[in-house]
């Protein structure tokens, strides 16, 4: 996993609550056996007018020139709800997003982001509203920094909340399986202690 220490990028404000993972990546694109090839289908039904993804929907915010090259996605509450498909954060990451900001995330989606090195940032409603106001007016660049655990622009600064271990894994690009296998002896011992029926 790539290390995440600091990132500065353009924000795209997606003004929707309850964006589910079916919207982020519809089911017809889940038949791949690789972790790549999903970016072209990100938000497919909103982004394209046709089923083949050849006619961009000019009304969808990701298609608007002002937000081209955005690498920070700003959304409303309960982002990433529904299906556990990790294809959703894979698509977000491959499209070029490093950070997703929302007032709340669905649990599985949040964990999936951390596990692949996309930084999910939870901010209070008021801060989210401020960011939406700014980002909808003119291009807004934000900096997320995991050394200082802050999200900043101009003289504004918001704290980034992560557990100590999440912060450590993101900053160091930890292979979580390799990390846990260091505890294999303990897992073996635990496994051997379980009752027969379990």
């Amino acid at each position: 996993m790539e290390k995440f220490i600091e990132h500065t990028g353009l924000v795209v404000p997606l003004d929707r609550a309850n964006v589910d993972t079916d919207q982020i990546i519809p089911k017809q694109f889940l038949q791949k056996t690789t972790r790549t090839g999903f970016a072209q289908h990100l938000f497919h039904d909103w982004r394209f007018l046709d089923d083949d993804g050849l006619q961009p929907n000019p009304d969808f915010i990701l298609n608007q020139a002002a937000y081209k090259g955005a690498s920070i996605l700003l959304a409303r509450e309960n982002f990433g709800c529904g299906s556990s498909r990790e294809h959703a954060p894979w698509a977000i990451q491959e499209f070029g997003f490093k950070v997703v900001i929302a007032p709340s995330f669905a649990d599985i989606f949040y964990g999936n982001c951390i596990n692949i090195g996309v930084l999910p940032i939870v901010l209070e409603e008021q801060a989210i509203n401020e960011l939406f106001t700014h980002a909808l007016q003119k291009p807004l660049e934000l900096t997320a920094n995991l050394e200082t655990m802050t999200l900043t622009y101009g003289d504004k600064s918001y704290p980034i909340e992560l557990t100590q271990f999440q912060q450590y894994c993101l900053k160091n690009g930890i292979d979580s399986v390799g990390w846990t296998l260091q505890s294999q002896a303990r897992i073996d011992e635990f496994s051997a202690s379980l009752p027969a029926w379990q």
């Binding site: 017809q28 709800c81 990790e86 649990d107 399986v177 846990t180 505890s183």
Partner: protein, 469 residues
């Protein structure tokens, strides 16, 4: 200190809780299917790692498969590639697979319980958000992403932060025609689409105690639909009776030892929950969703709401978007909504009791001429049982198609999907935009309500329908 059931399950699976690390918990059962596992197996291969415990890992094929043919190639080239990849991975890593044509094949959350692979007191995971289904047995069961699938395959553990606890206490006898599906839809309507995010929910109360195991599975199945990490019901006599004699359930002395242990799996009387919700079952009516998330739900005798009915700005906006997508006008009676498709199936409602109830409603009647209706049993075992009871004939005579088991039109990964403008009464679990096909509109209902809508061509109160229980 008094503990909740969740805390007991958590504590007995805690492998390691080092300072500065996310706690490590042990996984007793890992259920695997074709869509969320290939990248996990590929990474194991890349790193030269093994599956830690193949005997705790069970795979089946369900999401992608055709319900018209048991041929692995029947759902198209990409689906076939994914199914063959699962087959290859299972052979290479020594994982048991119930593939196409196997007598145990079925939707992963139907297959596990009916074989007795799901047991009280276990931690069960699967790369599928409806894994909470297995919580009906008093196990801690939840959906995971593919990176976590890889982690469980390689280590038989997961890193999990402890969730908050919510008790949903449901008391009172449910009115006639109110099913487990109506109970959970009413719960979601009350708690809200994201109301249990960060929580593990325990369902308690006399109403829950009276439910059969299959009904409890329907309730727990939809825990994710209001954000919960997992949904649990404490095991009791009903649970033990269901499990006794199942293929993978313990036997003999081990069964007796297991029973002794399982009887301790309940929240202590004075245990504290972070949140408590109480619901009176007598107030619940048959439910129908009108919007694009399962929390946008109302009673059959009600009307489509107006954005003005919501004081919260986000809910109001969501209502505006939903009404536009669903092409519904505020104030329309739910019973005036006409449908042209019916889907009876999914990990929520495809078990034998669901099919019996739906068959009782349609018996001797005919599906409305403008409606296409399909029944997709949850597993081969369910299909066989239904056929031995003649339910397939009841459905077919009424004009339903009788299909092979699979996830089917719940998510439309195969060719069972709707086209833009279709409106479906569905016994599945999600009414998201495009879930059953781009531009299609899904209304979530119980099997009895779906069956009644198929006959009438529009939603009807199943209680006003002859033949309904």
């Amino acid at each position: 200190m008094p503990s909740t059931l969740y805390e007991k399950l958590w504590q007995r699976h805690l492998v390691e809780d080092k300072s500065g690390e996310t706690p490590l918990i042990f996984v007793d059962r890992h259920l695997v299917h074709e869509v969320t596992s290939p990248q996990a197996f590929a990474n194991l291969k890349f790193h030269g790692r093994k599956v830690y415990s193949p005997e705790r890992t069970i795979a089946t094929m369900d999401h992608n498969i055709s319900t018209r043919s048991a041929d692995i190639n029947a759902a198209g080239e990409n689906a076939a590639n994914q199914l063959k990849t699962l087959d290859k991975n299972c052979q290479e890593f020594g994982v048991r697979l119930y593939g196409m044509g196997h007598k145990n094949q079925g939707i992963v959350h139907v297959m596990g319980p009916e074989l007795g692979l799901t047991l009280p007191g276990q931690v069960i995971v699967c790369g599928d958000s409806h894994t909470a289904t297995h919580g009906a047995f008093g196990s801690l069961a939840f959906g995971i992403g593919t990176s976590e699938v890889e982690h469980v395959l390689a280590t038989q553990t997961l890193r999990q932060n402890k969730a908050k606890t919510m008790k949903i206490d449901i008391q009172g006898s449910r009115p006639l025609g109110v099913s487990a599906k109506d109970i959970i839809l009413a719960v979601i309507g009350k708690v809200g689409h994201a109301g249990a995010t960060g929580y593990v929910v325990e369902y308690t109360g006399a109403t829950i105690a009276e439910l059969t195991m299959e009904e409890r599975m329907t309730v727990c199945n939809m825990s994710i639909e209001f954000g919960a990490k997992a949904g649990i019901i404490a095991p009791d006599h009903t649970t033990f009776e269901y499990l006794k004699g199942k293929e993978f359930a313990p036997r003999g002395d081990t069964w007796l030892q297991a029973l002794n242990d399982w009887q301790t799996l309940h929240s202590d009387d004075d245990a504290t929950f972070d949140t408590v919700v109480t619901i009176d079952a007598q107030e619940i009516k048959p439910q129908v969703t009108w919007g694009t998330n399962p929390g946008q739900v109302t009673a059959i005798n009600s009307v489509v709401p107006s954005p003005d009915d919501f004081s919260d700005a986000v809910e109001r906006d969501s209502c505006v978007n939903a009404l536009q997508y669903m092409d519904l006008t505020p104030g329309t009676k739910i019973t005036d909504i006409h449908i042209n498709n019916v889907f009876i199936g999914s990990c929520t409602n495809s078990r034998i009791e669901d099919l019996r109830i739906a068959a009782a409603v349609v018996k001797g009647k005919t599906v409305s001429p403008q409606v296409t209706a399909i029944v997709v049993p949850g597993s081969y075992r369910v299909k066989q049982q239904a056929e031995s009871e003649g339910l397939d004939e009841v459905f077919k005579q009424a004009g339903f198609e009788w299909r092979l088991p699979g996830c089917s039109m719940c998510l439309g990964m195969n060719d069972d999907k709707l086209i833009a403008g279709d409106r479906c009464a569905s016994t599945s679990n999600r009414n998201f935009e495009g879930r059953q096909g781009r531009g299609s509109r899904t209304h979530l209902v119980s099997p009895a309500m779906a069956a009644a809508a198929a006959i009438a061509g529009h939603f009807v109160d199943v209680n006003q329908f002859a033949g309904a229980k």
